[in-house]
């Protein structure tokens, strides 16, 4: 009974939707950057978490996602039509992520985020010019690159970024971009989210099916829907046809506990 409840919970909170990614034409990228994020999911707790992210860049566009999400997408694609679902499930469970989104940038004025609410994918654009950078004159060497500081406000937080001209792409982690060089570190003023570049390789890499099919929506609608889901995930799961034969109250309790401890998202939207 408990095992079932756990499995159901995993399905519920990690929200893996299999088979969502259909084969699309491959895109090749020239630069792969990896970032390490240190963050505090619970603002009342001193326990931090870390997660790795990948940023793939070519002349025209970039895609940013968590490393585990990337591994999961690749694994799902590789096992499509394969019988070995058991192995896939255990692979997915071993590579859980707290961040399900894909962020695709076609230049900094066309940033589109695809994210998941329960089993459904939605995508929304950022308002062009969502980042107004103020350049500062201080420089420092970070991760071996000479970097310059810049600040901006975004998503209810003040951010400080360090970028380097040595990598002439106007790119960065998350939705950050638009500086005259790659952002190698970006931290919010409360130091609750801190992305640091920890790897960069320049080699051609072909990626297929990294962005799932999604319903297009507005950012405000997405955040509203996400809020609704967080308030009552079990209800929404039941609406979509999931039946909890037992252990429902336990799951509700656990989900509420999890929500309570995840009160500090990277971005607030009002």
């Amino acid at each position: 009974m408990l095992r079932f409840a756990c499995a159901a919970l995993i399905m519920l909170v990690s929200r893996f939707a299999l088979g969502q990614i259909k084969g699309s034409s491959p895109v090749s990228y020239d630069i792969t950057c990896s970032y390490q994020l240190t963050f505090f999911p619970d603002s009342s707790s001193a326990v931090s978490k870390t997660e790795s992210f990948l940023l793939f860049i070519n002349q025209e566009q970039s895609i940013f996602k968590s490393r585990n999400r990337y591994l999961n997408d690749s694994a799902i694609l590789a096992t499509e039509r394969s019988r070995n679902r058991q192995d896939l499930m255990s692979f997915l469970q071993a590579h859980r992520t707290d961040f399900q989104f894909n962020i695709v940038k076609h230049g900094c004025n066309a940033v589109r985020t695809t994210d998941q609410i329960y089993h459904d994918y939605f995508s929304y654009p950022e308002t062009p010019g969502h980042l107004q950078w103020v350049l500062a004159q201080d420089t420092a060497t970070i991760a071996g690159y000479r970097a310059q500081r810049a600040t901006t406000e975004f998503g209810g937080r003040k951010w400080e970024a360090w970028f380097t001209e040595a990598v002439p792409v106007s790119e960065g982690p998350y939705k950050f971009c638009g500086l005259p060089g790659l952002i190698i570190r970006v931290t919010d003023s409360k130091e609750q989210y801190d992305f640091v570049l920890n790897g960069l390789t320049q080699s051609r890499r072909e990626l297929t099916g990294q962005v799932p099919k999604s319903a297009q929506t507005e950012k405000s609608t997405f955040f509203k829907k996400q809020l609704e889901y967080r308030a009552n995930p079990v209800g929404i799961a039941e609406q979509s046809g999931v039946v909890f034969t037992s252990g429902r109250s336990e799951i509700v309790q656990r989900v509420q506990q999890k929500n309570k401890s995840e009160n500090n998202p990277i971005e607030f939207f009002h």
């Binding site: 001209e165 040595a166 002439p168």
Partner: protein
């Protein structure tokens, strides 16, 4: 000209004034296009104005038609504009600082970016799994994975190769998740190349049986060696040296596939490398214990230093191990090992015994030689799935030992000849499966041992006992031990929400046959000695039992309770005395284990248990046995009864961020024995051991602390461990009862650093103190200290120099201080990274290692001849 200069100075002053004050300089607009060499517009190029200090003051991006507009507020005459775009060389353009239109032409190129390689953090913790990145801990001179494991914080490697995690031995040693070697992991650990390994994983509380996962708690941690890729690897090593002529050969190829692994090894040396350790089982298994050999040649105390320094050997070893995993999760394991070895010991023992009749001194010069031939084979079939666990392992060992001991005691020569042959066959079967809602667990083990032993001592000893006080030519002790032992049990585990209950029942049976006789030769005629010197015994021990286990698990707690009721039925038939002894004894043995997780990083554990021990059959022989040339023993034929209370608390802390590992444990052990031993020592120092019926208590307390810390920036790991133990026992001293108190303190510190690519250093120090007290009298005190320093120097990539210095000192009733020096030079060449090694050992040419052993009533000073100064040249080829 002069005016111009003045103008410039004024304008410069103005400039300073303007920057410092209000920046009220008119804005200029610079617009233009970014084009490539063919005149095609470049979109999305980054156009920036660079200041003198190389920072950017303004920037923009070009539109799809290549056009851009930049506003400059800089008060300079000229501006530096930089245009960059992925796929083009960055262009620097100097233009006048005025509103104007410019064309920026960029040259196409494949821009080479400075790559940044991901440095995985040295340690990652995920739930109960800890990943250690080998690259973070590997030193320049490290060749095998054991060299790296030694440096890892939280892990300790003992002299025999056993690996401890947080102070406790590991339960399994996996390679890519497969347990190929079943506990004989030295073979892999000491031969697998560190370069082939990506990470070393420690799985805490690893339950290796899948069907029991999250149902049955495991205290054991397992180690997994994760390789970089599926590969064939290994190494070949060959060396020769002087003097005398030395050789050292080791060829160990290995193959690791997803479902198939092989490790084979051929080794031969006379250079002091102990090969037998590569066949030792280092994990504790539930296998039945082998009765220990009874007869021995008077040994020398083996030095408490690396065997390479003192082992005088000629050893050959072959080993072949294979594991094959089929698609349906069935594993087949085959292990074969053969060893042929000759070892010699030379030295002297000086022993002082305190006896009621005064102090007896024994001075022995000893030259021993032992020839051992051993063969072992094992076959394991294992199926480990979520629905079924089935494991059958069958193994056989055969060992033949021939020993010759030449001893001269106070100039009187004595010759000892020992022959032992041991045959051992074992089979164990375990089945765990679901039966309805419960887990059914069946286990059955059967073992057979056979061991004849013969000890011949010439001239005869214990004249008073064996030959009415007259000297005689020789004495020969013959022994024959045979034993069949079986352990069988069946249990059911049923889970009720957070609690699982396991009732079990079964029986153990031990049938032990023992025969011994003494023959003496006096004036060329042999005599079989009488009944007092003979044993012919059949000892059977049947134990039916029932037990109930309970296990509770929550997020913070893991509690395991075991209540067992055993009925011990003994039957001892003595065919010499024609007597039959029967005894039935119930034993209730409860135990409790609990673990409390305070945080993700810290937990507390505790065990409490009460149990019985009925000794082993060798404690019920009533005829005299000549165990060694100056030790004869008999017991009074009573079955010993020991009651054991045990309590332990422990704390573990590990922090992967600060890389701090800490463990602390304290334990109390109380033993209640019904037998007490009494040693009678005659004027020549020959000991006669008797057991008498007398209740007595032994109490021991132990505290242990281990701390490991890794300093990432300076690549240094520091390990500190210490323990203190207190033992109080009741003994009979000079016909009176007295309490003997022994105290032992030990502290060890080791540090290893790789702080630069040119230099590495390892330092370890060890100090121990032994104190004893008999009744109210202070007994002997002794202390030893060991200091070892190893320095690695890498002047260039290909050359490596290693210097080892060791110092051993003993304080107390005797003092000594010894210093050893060893040097190794290694030259690595070729694409295959072949090592040429020149090794000089014992450069100070120390002749003897002196060890001092103190106990309440004895003092022994052993002088052991160690290997002299030697030079060995060798090659090592990895493949």
């Amino acid at each position: 000209m002069k005016i111009g200069t003045a103008q410039r100075i004024i304008s410069a002053l103005l400039l300073i004034f303007q920057i410092g004050c209000c920046r009220a300089y008119a804005q200029k607009t610079i617009s233009g296009k970014v084009l490539d060499q063919h005149g095609t517009a470049i979109s999305n190029a980054n156009v920036a104005i660079i200041q003198n200090n190389n920072s950017i003051s303004a920037f923009t991006f070009s539109d799809p038609d290549g056009s851009f507009t930049l506003k400059s507020a800089l008060p300079t005459d000229t501006l530096t504009i930089k245009a960059t775009r992925l796929g083009f060389d960055g262009g620097l353009f100097r233009v006048a600082n005025k509103t104007q239109a410019v064309q920026l032409v960029l040259k196409e190129s494949a821009l080479k970016l400075r790559a940044l390689t991901v440095k995985a953090p040295p340690v990652i913790i995920r739930k109960d799994t800890i990943d250690y990145q080998v690259s973070a801990f590997k030193g320049e001179g490290d060749r095998t994975i054991s060299d790296v494991i030694k440096r890892i914080p939280g892990i300790e490697v003992k002299e025999n190769g056993q690996i401890l995690y947080q102070g406790n031995p590991i339960g399994k040693y996996y390679i890519n998740g497969l347990d190929l070697l079943e506990g004989r992991y030295n073979l892999a650990n000491e031969n697998l190349l560190a370069d082939a390994v990506r990470k070393v994983q420690v799985m805490e509380n690893d339950q290796p049986i899948k069907i029991l996962k999250s149902k049955v708690f495991s205290e054991k941690a397992s180690l997994n060696i994760q390789l970089k890729k599926v590969t064939t690897t290994g190494s070949a090593k060959a060396g020769a040296g002087l003097s005398p002529a030395l050789w050292d050969v080791n060829i160990t190829p290995m193959t690791f596939n997803r479902s198939f692994q092989v490790i084979a090894s051929v080794q031969s040396n006379n250079a002091g490398t102990d090969v037998s350790r590569q066949l030792d089982v280092l994990t504790k298994s539930a296998q039945t214990s082998v009765p220990v050999p009874m007869l021995s040649i008077q040994p020398l105390n083996a030095p408490n230093i690396n065997p390479n320094r003192w082992l005088d050997n000629r050893s050959h070893l072959g080993s072949f191990n294979l594991i094959k995993k089929t698609k349906d999760q069935t594993e087949l394991k085959l292990g074969l090992g053969v060893r042929d070895e000759m070892q010699q010991q030379n030295g002297s023992n000086y022993t002082r015994l305190l006896t009621p009749g005064g102090v007896i001194e024994i001075d022995e010069r000893i030259a021993n030689r032992a020839d051992t031939r051993a063969l072992n084979a094992s076959l394991v079939i294992e199926r480990n799935t979520d629905r079924l666990f089935l494991k059958n392992s069958a193994s056989g060992q055969f060992e033949q030992l021939r020993g010759i001991g030449n001893l001269s005691r106070n100039l009187l020569p004595t010759r000892q000849n020992l022959t032992t042959e041991q045959t051992q066959l074992q089979n164990s079967l375990a089945i765990i499966t679901h039966a309805g809602k419960q887990l059914l667990n069946i286990s059955s083990q059967t073992a057979y041992y056979r061991r004849p032993e013969t000890l011949l001592v010439r001239p005869g000893v214990f004249n008073a006992l064996f030959n009415a006080g007259n000297s005689f030519e020789s004495i020969s002790q013959q022994l024959r031990t045979r034993e069949i032992e079986t352990q069988n049990s069946i249990s059911f585990t049923r889970k009720f929400s957070t609690i699982s209950l396991t009732p079990a029942a079964g029986f153990n049976f031990d049938n032990h046959l023992f025969q011994s006789a003494v023959t003496t030769v006096a004036s060329d005629s042999a005599h079989m000695r009488g009944d007092a010197f003979q044993n012919d015994l059949k000892y059977t021990h049947l134990t039916p039992f029932a037990q109930l286990g309970g296990y509770y698990e929550s997020q913070k707690w893991q509690v395991d309770v075991n209540l067992s009721l055993r009925m011990h039925a003994f039957r001892v038939s003595d065919f010499v005395e024609n007597s039959l002894q029967k005894q039935n004894r119930p034993a209730f043995e409860p135990s409790l284990t609990a673990r409390y997780r305070v945080t993700e990083y810290a937990d507390f554990t505790s065990d409490v248990s009460y149990s019985y021990d009925f000794g082993n059959p060798s404690q019920v022989y009533s005829g005299f046995i000549l165990k060694s040339y100056r030790n004869v023993q008999r017991t009074n034929g009573t079955i010993p009864l020991n009651r054991i209370w045990m309590g332990r608390v422990g704390m573990n802390y590990k922090n992967p961020l600060s890389l701090l590992f800490l463990n602390l444990a304290a334990s109390v052990l109380r033993l209640e024995n019904n037998l007490q031993y009494r040693t009678g020592i005659d004027s020549t120092g020959a000991a006669e051991l008797n057991f008498v019926l007398k209740n007595n208590v032994q109490l021991s307390k132990n505290i242990r602390l281990g701390v490991g810390k890794y300093f990432g920036e300076i690549r240094t790991s520091l390990k500190l461990n210490g323990d203190a133990s207190f033992i109080r026992s009741e003994q009979i001293v000079t016909e009176r009862e007295a309490a003997v108190r022994n105290r032992n303190y030990r502290v060890g510190l080791s540090a290893s650093t790789l702080f630069s690519t040119y230099l590495g250093a390892e330092l370890s120090g060890n100090a121990s103190i032994f104190l004893s007290r008999i009744a109210d009298q202070r007994g002997p005190t002794s202390g030893t200290t060991q200091l070892q320093l190893g320095i690695d120097i890498y002047p260039t990539q290909a050359h490596a120099l290693r210097l080892d210095a060791e110092q051993y000192a003993t304080q107390g009733s005797a003092r000594q201080n010894q210093f050893y020096l060893h040097l190794r030079y290694r030259y690595t060449f070729g694409k295959r990274k072949i090592d040429l090694e020149i090794r000089g050992t014992n450069l100070t040419n120390v002749q003897h290692y002196i060890s001092i052993l103190n106990s309440a009533f004895t003092f022994t000073e052993s002088s052991f001849r160690i290997r002299p100064r030697q030079i060995l040249v060798g090659f090592r080829v990895p493949f």
